[in-house]
Structures are given as structure tokens and as C-alpha cells.
Amino acid sequence: MAWVNRILQGLRALFHAKRIEQELDDELRAFVDASVNAKLDAGMRRQDAVRAARLELGSEASVKDAVRDAGWESWVGDFWRDIAYARRSLTRSPGFTAVAVLTLAIGTGATTAIFSVVSGVLLKPLPYPNSSRIVRLFMNAPASESPSKRPLRASLGLTAAEINEVRTRVRTLSHVGTSTGILRSLRGHEEAARLQGSRVSASAFEMIDAQPMLGRVFNADDELVGAEPVMILSHAAWLRFFQGDRDVIGSVTTTDSVLGQRVESRYTVIGVMPQGFAYPEPSTQFWVPFAMSAPGAPPLRGPLVGRLADGVSVEAATAELSSALRGIRPEARETQYELALEHLELVAPVRPALWVLMSAVGCVLLIACVNVANLLLARSAARDREMAVRVALGAGRGRLVRQVLTESMMLSLLGGVVGVALAFGGVRILKQLATTISRIDLSPTAFPRIESIAIDLWTLVFAIVCTAATGVLFGLAPALVHSRVDPVRGLRGPSVGAGRSRIWRPSVRQCLVVSEVALAMMLLVGGGLLIRSFLKLSMIDPGYNAENVLTFQVSLPSSRYTNLEMRAFAETMVQRLRSSPGVEAAAYGNQLPMVNLSDTAGGLWTSPDPQRPPTPVGPDARIVSRDYLRVFGIPVVAGRGFNDGDGEGQRRVLLVNQTLVNKDFAGESPIGRAVFIGRDIVPWEIVGIVADVRQFGLDHEPTPQFFVDMRQWGVGGTFFPIGAYYAVRTNADPRTLLATARNTVANLDKEAALFNVAPMEDLIANTIARPRMYTALLGSFAAAGLLLALVGIYGVIAYTVTQRTREIGIRMSLGARGGNVTSLVLRQSFPLMIIGVSIGLVGAAMMSRFLETLLFGVKPLDAATFGTMALMFIWVAGLASYVPARRAAKVDPLVALRCD
């Protein structure tokens, strides 16, 4: 137990430091005495003996130091001394300290913020037991077996009966279930409240070990045909709609369906989930069983989720499940089945982007480190003499390295603290950037797992590690430089410092600058590519004018309205809105641009067929009111638009878009042609061609569409399967119209309510929320990298100028002009930049393919971006070195020569 002894002895030494010092002094004195005595005995004179003894001992201080260093406890004392010293030396140069701390804060802050996203979204397990073994079923259908006649990877909808069959057949999955979305409005609540819920299998709840806060969760009996309909409430819904009443269990609540045919359903509340329960999504407010369908009724379908049984691989489970599914769906012979791990599948759309961002922010951090290393090196030159004195007084190399490292650690610690503070703000901005309009009718743009992004313990640990690593990283170079100080040369002073011994030091600095420039260049190219791509994306003309258009939906008290009454309501609504002040045009329709649900109305055909089977493919049916095209400013390119004459009972007319003309009429004008919609045998006449609009997103090419005036639409089927959408063009900020719209609705029917209110511009912005976030982040990292690199270049050149002041003075007194001196300095920095930029461009060329999936309309090796960024960088970097070079040219030779 020698080490225990050592620790105890060390502690003892720490507590009795004074006595032990005293003892050491005594011992040394005794040593010298003995030495003197021996020499006296040998016949030396006393004076000589004392002198010889002292010489033999050498520096008493360094002997004592060596003795102290024999035990570990000396580190403690040294550490405190180093810290006190570092504090003094940092406060002595506040400018340097501020720049270094800020630089490091930017680096660690940005890195910590991005890490919190990576950690929350990619690294943290989902909040369920065994979450890494939860799988989701996908099918990879070839064109021949895909409903859209194109190869398709999608989750496969199975009925409750099929899911039960899978559960009994497949042994490699311990749980098999499903969950699928459902929208309901709650009867008896003032704000015709629409709740997003989930139909979920009892076994899916069991899979995630869902425990209710009140009551019970579902069991298999709840799924049987004819079982009493039951409902579980989320904590939030329980508080909001039932005031947290514990007696809610067992009560019956009435809901109305929101989409499709109006159906009233009554559910018995059987449970309330605890706060924070967020399956499948945080916005889920209630759960009902995914029940077996009654015979004859169209069966509900849901995607299959399950958990791998213990010790079973994904491959084994896929094989067993595939063979079971071939039995269940014998018609899909070519379709391949795939089990995807849920925790990977969920974040798959953002994973590549997050790793790109993490690497980019790592580059920023590296640049920050290099910059501070450079600053420290510049300072170290000024501290040569100080270090030389220390070496001359007997300080060891290790001791000097430790001292300098303490200083850098202190800097990085300060930087880390400020950085973490910045990261808190950064994460808030990040979450804001990542937040999107969450609506079931819009394409899913939500950032997955955004709710688990936070600066938590892990992030803080990361920040600490990151801080310590940066401290060592940027502190090591200056520390090593100091440790090699030659005391003789150092003490002789800087006047001889321009000699050979220094040549290697600028080369360290040059390497640092080159690497900094290269890193910044890579960031710039990455940022440039994303910005270019985003500009392209956002400058795409959607085909309509979204400015000053307010959109919303109105929920009508369900079963009180027939189809015709709904249409009458909508017509009255737009009439009243049209006459409101500030309104230029008002319209309604079955859909809006950017609403992500297609409605084909049975397809568009050139011949009638009353027996035609329903088809899921076909042009998009836009069933709209008269002024729909006017509100959106969609131009009619040939023929005419709708007018007042196109009312009920008139000749049925129809508009088609340009893409449909090109696709189905080979570009020839179809005006005057008769067409048939679905099984309808009464012809519609094409009277106009309208310009294309981008319906499903700015990056989606326009699809074929036709337009029908709502007044002429038949009464068969549901008029508005997902409710009517209203669009109102105003002559000012569309938000100001909200109150008017609300009043108009309330005046027509007290129970009707506005929902899904959004300016059209927001709906468009929402579709590009992710690219916008990536661009904003990578762009700001590139900007930060550029700024730091410029500071670095400026610092190095300014330093060189200071070092060469004397030489410049000599040159000028010998007749050199300002211009010569400027170019002398620039000649030194220019090669560095060219080398750095070249390395950076090569690096960017190698790395940019990782950006490919994030780019729209820009190739990863886009020459224009590479070129522009390189030129811009050289230009601003030139500027950064020109400033100190210019200063060099203004050196007064007399002052310069006298300066040392």
C-alpha cells in the first residue's frame, strides 16, 4: 500500500507545510555546515570553505524546489500559484483577454448549442423502455404494385385483424401494434375545440410501458367489434377541458369528426395519462383504441409498429414478418418488407444535416483555438525575457509548460463559461428556427424530437470536456515555445532576437494561419452553397401572389349542416368578407396551395363511364369559388376564368392548368373540348387555361390541375372532405383582417369558429423551414469562421510589422518608399493566404458531397460558389493584412531605429 502511504504523507505535508519547510531549511543548513567543516578539516581557509560549500550546493531555491517536487502535493501549491499568476497576467492585458475569451466563447457556445441538438435528437434514447428495439414496418413497392404507379417506400397500412394475425404468427416481435392519427372536436366546449388524437393498439401502449395517471389503459377487449368506445385523455387535455377533475373517469364525452362525413361519437373516459407522456407525438391529446371494424364497414388501417423480441436481430424479424405478410397480402408479390428501427427512422430526415452542422461548428471551434494560440504566441514573444529570467532562476521546462498551460486553461474556462451562457441563448434561437406550423393538413416539416433539445447535464459535460480540450489545444503550442526559451539569448533582449533562433517560430504561426484560412475557406464554401441553394429555393415563383393573403378554415357545428347548406354558408361568408373594408377579394376552395392532401375527385377523362372504378391517381381537383384565381393572382393564359354566369344550372365549365395541357393534350389548346369527372356522365367544357402553381412545395414541380366552380359542383359525395379553406386578399397586413373574419363568422353562426388561421406567406415559409434553419446556421458559422480568420490574419501581420519595425526603419532611411514597405509586408502574407485558400478549396471539394442532400438546384461542386467565395475571401483577407501593412509604411525611420 505504498500509494496510500504517499497520499497520506502528501496530505500531511500540505497541512504542515510550514514545519516541513523549516525542517528542509535546517537540513540544508546542516548540509552546508558539514560541508564547510569538512573543508576546514582539509585545511582550507574559512572564507574559501564557505564559498566552495555554497558553490557545491548550487541554488538553494532550486534544491528546495526539487525536494518539494518529489511529492505530489507540490502540484497543489504550484497550481494555486499558477492560477494567481495567470489571473495577474490576464488582467494586465485586458484587451488580449477580452478578444481571446470572446473568440473561445463563440467557439464553445456554438459547439455546445449544436451539440445540444445532436444529443437531444440523435443520441438520447426515446423515452420508452427498450426504445432502441422498437421497429416500424415499411414496404418497398415496385411501380406495378404501388397505388401511385411509381416505386414507393411507405409505411404499410394494416387493419386491426391483420395486425392481430401478425401478432399471433410472428414470434420474433414481442409486441405488435399500431397508432394512427385522428382528429375530433369536443362537443360542449365553447371554442369548438379540435383535438389531435391517436388510435392506438393496446399492445402499442404495452410496448412503451404506458402507465396511466388515473384509471386504466386499453386492453385487448377494447378492440373487439361492438366493445364500448373508450377514450384516454392526455394530462393537458384533462386540465384544459375537464379542469383536472378526477371524476372524469367513467363519464361519457361526445365528439364530432372533423374530416370527412360528420360523425358523432360518444366515448367513455377510462384514463388520464401523466404529464410528459408523448406518444406518438407531444401534440397528441387523446387516445382511442385501434378497434376492429364492424363487418361491412371500410376497415381502418394503421402502420405496424413493434418491438424485437429479446435476442432477435432486425434481419430475423424482417424475414419472419415478410413471410407472414406474404400470406396476408398474397397479391403484393414483388413488394419487399422492411423493418426500420424507430429511433433511427424518426430522425432520418435531419441526421445528415445535423452531422454537417456539428462538423461545421467543430471547424469554428478549431479556428477559435488556432486564433487564440496565435494570440498567445504573439504574446509569448513579448514574454521571452520573463521566461528567460525564470529559466535562469532554475525553473524547469515542465514547470514553465505547466504555468503557460494554466493560463490557457483559465482562458478556456472563461471562454467556456461565457460560451455556455451564449449556448443557452443559441438553443432558444435554434428551437425558434426549428419550430414550424404543426398542422395535419400541411406537409410534415416539423423538426423531429425538438422537445428533447435542451442544455442538460450531458451538454454541460460536453461543454466542459470541450473547454478543457480547447485549453490544451491552443495552449500547447505557446507552452512548448516557452519551454524552449534559451535563457542567455532571451536575457540579452530582443535586439538580437531577429536572428536565426526565431526563424522557426514564425513558421509555427504561419502554419496556424494557413490552417485557419483553410478551415474558414471550407466553412465559407459550405455556407455559400447552402445560401445559394436557399436563395434559389426561396426565389422560386410559386405561380401565385402570396403577399397580403389571409387563409383560414371555419369549423361548422357538424351535423346541422348539409352539403348544400355548407356551400351556402361559404358563399355568404365570402360575400360579406368582400364588402368588408380593406378586402380586395375573397374566395374559398376545397384546398389551398401548400395543403398536402390531394383530391382527384375521380379523375378527368375524355369519355364518360358510369362504372369507372375509383382511382387514386389523376390531376388535382380544385373546387373553388368564383374569385379564387383573383385572390391568388393566378393568371388565365388562354380562354377565360370563372364569372357570374357560371352559376348553378348553367353550362358546366372547367379550367385546366398549363401542365395538364402539356401532359394530356400534347400542348394543343383544349379550349372547347368536353371532359368528364369521375363517374359523372354530364360533360364539362374546358373554357380556359391557367398558369401553373406549385401546389405541394416550392421544390416540387407543378402537377396537373383542373378547376371547377363550386356553384356548379354536384351534390354527390362530400363537398369539403377536409373542410372549406378561405383565402382573403387585403390591401394591408393580412393579420389585421383576423378580427373582421372572426366577427363575420360569429354573425353567421354562433357555434362556428375560425381555425388554422395563417397568412399565405407563412404557409410558404413553413415549407422551407428546414432549409432555412440549416442555411441560417451554416451561414452564421461561415461568417463566424471568416471573422475569426480575419482577426487571425490581421494579428499575424500586425505582429510581423511590429517585429520588423527596425528593419523597416533601416529600409526607409535607405530610401525605400511607403509603397515598397507595404508590398514587402503583403508579399509575406499573400502566399500564406493562397496556400490556405487552396487547401480550403480542396477540403471543401472533398467535404461538399455531404451537403448534397441539403442542396436544391446547386451542385456540391458548384464552380461559381467555390470561385466567388475564394475571391471574396482573398479580397477581405487582403484587406485585413493591408491595414497593418499600411501602418508599416507610415513608420517614421527615426523612431523605428531608436525603438529598441
Binding site: N5, E23, A30, A34, V63, V67, A70
Partner: protein
């Protein structure tokens, strides 16, 4: 403490062993140990205080030597070091190791080319 020839540096770690050896004869104070080392090695090793004292501290920490303040033959006070039981055992062990190693090394050094 200067020899006619330039004194050799000690092989790393052997200083402790030599100190233990010197102390095996009798307890001794710091200066005495230094002188004794130089004498025994006939001036081959010259150990300065900067190495000697840290070595004492390490040995003391490891429990191999014990230190006591005593009066010297000249009537002055000095810190006398003596071997502990542990120190004796350690000396025995290291001496054996050392002899084995040096024997092996010198055999290699003295072997002719053919033997290698």
C-alpha cells in the same frame, strides 16, 4: 566533490539503491551520504544536493528510510537517515536484480561477434 575526470551521470533510479547501500552500513546525515557515495565510487559518481535531497524525500515517503535529528560528532544537529526493515528488504531485492542484470549486460558487451 570534484574528481579529476568528469563525473558520470547516474543511471536513472540507481541513486536510491546506492543511498540504501550506504545506509546499510550505518545511519548517516545528508552530507555524509554524499561524501560516502563519492568515496566508494572513487570519484566516479558526484551527486549534487539537488538530486540527493529529493531522493531522501522519496525514500522517506516510501517508508524505506527513517529520519531523525541527532547531534553530529562536531556537536551540531543534523538529520540522520537510517534503513527501515522495508528498506533492507528493498535493498536486498534491488541488489539481486541489479547483479543479475549487470551480469547479463556485461556478458553481452564482452561477447565476441561470433557469439552474437
Amino acid at each position: 566533490m570534484t574528481g579529476s575526470q568528469k563525473p558520470s551521470d547516474l543511471v536513472q533510479g540507481t541513486l536510491e539503491m546506492l543511498i540504501l547501500r550506504v545506509l546499510a552500513l550505518e545511519p548517516m546525515h545528508g552530507y555524509g551520504i554524499g561524501v560516502r557515495l563519492e568515496q566508494i565510487s572513487r570519484g566516479t559518481f558526484c551527486v549534487n544536493a539537488g538530486s540527493l535531497f529529493p531522493a531522501f524525500r522519496r525514500l522517506e515517503r516510501d517508508g524505506l528510510v527513517r529520519a531523525e535529528w541527532q547531534t553530529t560528532e562536531n556537536g551540531r544537529r543534523a538529520k540522520y537517515y537510517s534503513l527501515t526493515a522495508q528498506g533492507k528488504a528493498k535493498l536486498k531485492r534491488t541488489t539481486q536484480d541489479w547483479e543479475r542484470q549487470t551480469a547479463a549486460i556485461s556478458r553481452i558487451l564482452q561477447s565476441s561477434l561470433g557469439e552474437l
